[in-house]
Symmetry: C2
Subunit: 560 residues, 2 copies
């Protein structure tokens, strides 16, 4: 496999069928057994690998942009008797640790995206389990707004990871069972040790599903629930569909380039130097013009490019441990685009979808296991939505003054807080982190005066001295110190333990409250990563490797 | 080393000096380099191992019970120029993974206990850093209410774990820096990569310490701050000191017995069968009588025994993966003791201390990496504070009816909710979990009706059918099914991956909100466990093993 590509389109799907019937879409999982991304396993029983999930992600995105008429989505299976058997075990058993972890992260993000569509896009997902949903299959259902299970005396939901594989239901399962669906913790414990699963009325009584439906009435009830859901949808009106045309991407061994976003990969220094370009023209005067621009509309185009770049680098460039972000362009144009979108966030589906897409893309950065450094230089446009890149970074450096040797007459760099960075409506801030706070509020946790001062600066371009004083940037070295300070920061990062950096960043980036979402990435994922790495799961005699061989796993019985 | 003992007393301390001067106690760390718990390392520069921490825990406990007059505690060093260098690296490098993890857990619990004393006992801890505090040494300071650092141009605070050892400041450090002290996340990032640390005014400006004090004024300022702290203490009045007499403990290869608590270790089944006896007589009619009973007062005695048992089993019996809890005695006597303590929680230091001790002991169970099963049988006394044992368990089984073969005329088992289980004042519930909720509220998360019904039952002994209906117990099999169901539950537990069970339990037990405390045990510890287990830290060329050898760590540079 040369490298993993995340770009796809319905015409190329091998595993999903997307059908739209007025306000209701149906997304049917029908995995091609021979369609594994990597040789060595068959995707039996609607089990999935990264390739299956890439298509699901694409479908969820297209439903948002290409189907403004859709107000409810039925997620079901195209096979008889099985909804989905979860992640493919042979794939997991054969995968490197870093692959497993990255795969789970992407799976989690897609499921969070499904919940975001339900909560914020008026596209509620309905899991129509026309057969057994086990492991990751049930976890997929858990991400839906409502779970219907066919009542045929054999179809069940189950989380057999612990008893069968010696790992956790680690893509949201444990967290969503108790924190979202409020299954009582002792019942959840029992359920998660019982590989045969639970169906029928007990599944409803324990809150594992919302409803069980006899097979005779299945189609009718699913359709009815979907119609009801569509009828109460908050999907916004607006213009017609926006086609997500194929991204124009050029990938060489040491660079990835799109129209607005480009990255240079420096393998010796273990750094990706990423530049995000601001809009090349002013903002449209209306959403009508934005619709006319379609996928070329700057905020949408740049979000798609950044999203693809993040996914590409995470999957394919694991030794590039530091991502350095720069921006280039006109800050006022960025702010004008933000303004247009935020002004229509509550009235136009496209404006809202683009803001939500930005929110999700920035959240990907928050959970990316790479050191993020923002460099704020003359000619940059860290304002509003693009300022979030600097706020998401582990550190930022802003040049005080100009590069005397390069362009002594340049205007010094400025950063500008904009409405996109503030808390308040819509939502409680348009670009909230997973912890439910804005990046500014997370940054100034426990320091309300500093937060107020930073927010009060909104609209004013801030030079380095002021930005540093307000705490919006980490350091503001001048021309004389810049090169050395930045070089040391980047080189140092490459010299540290990559594991310890991942842990450090996963703790510092999530100061403040925890939510179901952050608990999935923090508590649950961190435990799963540990378990995945232990011989009891992944060693030669571990449960993950022994599964299906007829051998029994041989456990080190010490409790840690 | 035969086994680790947690019982000690000031006369036996090798590493700490406890001095009490009126309302101010001083706890000086002066580690005996040759006093390591295990051979193979020297405890230089006030570095610590489990033995040092056992003494600290003992001192913190005795300050609570044996020093009712103490209203502020100064934590300082008995050595020149160094406060504490943190956990001993050679000890960490030579330790098994399970030892490292258990050591960190106990260290965390002691630090949480220090914060609990500050918040709830009116014994605020003041960290008087008369020299450098690095790594775990600074983490110890972070657990104090206020941090003073001597300003002598050489003393600093630092978290050098990441740059020097390739691990995290994992005993609360990362969490407390941003979530408790509200150091800005990018500054925290910088600080945690800078092994040389930060002192002087910058340490104050970044919120790493509260105050820097010139050496000339050091004694004077520390004394003044301690006096001020004592002057505003909320330490309650009450009777005289209660001496924590040596616990009467008998340990054989397959049993541990105290006066009220006993455990039988079944190594074949990997189970500890633990029985907690209720009070052998009614509650005293006044706190005066309780003082007269001293350490023999049942609620205090049983908490001490249970606490010691938990610590002993965790450290010494890592292959005993399941703890089965039973109680035996008179429920009304348990409730009467609870009533006495809760009635005086706001007026008597001893009443409050015992309740707080119970709270901390139950919290230990919540973070114990063993499966917890409660068996509720005739003759048991799961009521009030003892009912918490069943609520802390991963599952509970309550006999419906009686054991016909054993005692057909016995009274069937009952459970009784009592004031100790309820939310509301004091605190917002006397026995809150680390997540800030009662165990009942955690159990019925998102189900306010069920919570209200359970709370409304307070005071009524509930038979199995009713307890099951109210959701207070998991299952209520009758005599015919009991043996088989319980046997399977216990046997199954022993057949599962110990690692996966630890992860499962660490997720299900902490439904609901997260706090600084739960983030330390969940997010931070889970990441640290993973990092500790990775070759980049603990492999032959890992940073932890390479430290001090002159060799450079050789990292796998893949980001996971």
């Amino acid at each position: 496999m040369a490298h993993v590509e995340f770009r796809t389109s319905p015409a190329r799907y091998r595993h999903w069928r997307l059908a739209v019937d007025g306000p209701v879409a149906t997304l049917a999982m029908d995995v091609d057994e021979q369609g594994g991304l990597v040789p060595g396993y068959e995707l039996k029983l609607n089990s999935y690998d990264l390739g299956v999930d890439v298509e699901l992600y694409d479908a969820v995105q297209r439903l948002r942009f290409e189907h403004p008429e859709v107000k409810a989505v039925v997620m079901t299976s195209g096979k008889e008797k099985i909804f989905c058997a979860g992640a493919n075990i042979r794939m997991l058993a054969a995968s490197a640790h870093s692959w497993k972890v990255n795969f789970c992260k992407f799976t989690n993000e897609t499921r969070n995206g499904i919940e975001d569509a339900t909560a914020n896009s008026g596209q509620a997902y309905l899991a129509a389990l026309n057969g057994t949903a086990s492991g990751g299959g049930y976890e997929l259902a858990l991400a839906c707004d409502r779970i219907l299970l066919v009542d045929d005396r054999s179809s069940v939901v189950s989380l057999p990871e612990l008893p069968l594989l010696g790992v956790l239901p680690g893509t949201g399962g444990l967290t969503r069972v108790v924190d979202k669906r409020h299954v009582r913790r002792d019942l959840a414990d029992y359920f998660s040790t019982r590989s045969e699963g639970i169906g029928g009325k007990k599944a409803v009584g324990w809150r594992l599903v919302d409803e069980v439906v006899p097979r005779a009435r299945w189609q009718e009830v699913v359709a009815e629930r979907a119609r009801d859901s569509a009828a109460t949808s908050t999907r916004l009106p607006g213009g017609g569909a926006v086609e997500l045309t194929e991204l124009d991407k050029t990938r060489t061994d040491d660079s990835i380039a799109y129209q607005h976003v480009s990255a240079t990969l420096d393998r010796d220094r273990a750094v990706a130097e990423i530049t995000v370009a601001g809009p090349s023209s002013g903002a449209p005067s209306s959403m009508g013009e934005a619709y006319a621009q379609g996928a070329a509309f700057w905020p949408l185009a740049v979000a798609r490019e950044l999203d693809d770049l993040i996914l590409d680098l995470r999957a394919n460039e694991t030794e590039i441990g530091t991502w350095v972000f720069r921006t280039a362009g006109d800050a006022s144009r960025v702010l004008a685009h933000d303004e247009l979108l935020l002004a229509h966030y509550d009235s136009d589906w496209l404006a809202r979808e683009i803001v939500l897409f930005w929110k999700r893309t920035l959240k990907r950065l928050d959970v990316t296991s790479r050191s993020l450094i923002a460099l704020i230089e003359p000619g940059s446009c860290f304002a509003g939505s693009l300022l979030e890149l600097a706020l998401a970074a582990d550190r930022s450096y802003m040049l005080f003054g100009v590069f005397e040797d390069v362009d002594p007459d340049a205007a010094p760099a400025a950063v500008t807080v904009g409405p996109a960075n503030l808390s308040g409506p819509p939502g409680n801030g348009p670009l909230l982190m997973g912890n439910g706070l804005t990046r500014l509020a997370t940054r100034f946790l426990g320091d309300p005066d500093a937060l107020a001062a930073a927010e009060k600066s909104a609209g004013s371009p801030l030079a380095a001295e002021e930005a540093e004083k307000l705490g919006l940037v980490t350091f503001a070295p001048d021309d004389i110190d810049w090169e050395e300070e930045v070089r040391i920061a980047v080189e140092e990062r490459a010299s540290f333990s990559p594991d310890a950096l991942t842990g450090l960043e996963a703790n510092y980036r999530f100061a403040g409250p925890e939510t179901t979402e952050t608990k999935i990435f923090g508590r649950l994922t961190a435990w799963q990563n540990w378990i995945f790495y232990r011989p009891n799961a992944s060693g030669p005699d571990g449960a993950l490797r022994a599964y299906g061989t007829g051998r029994r796993a041989d456990f080190d019985r010490k409790r840690v």
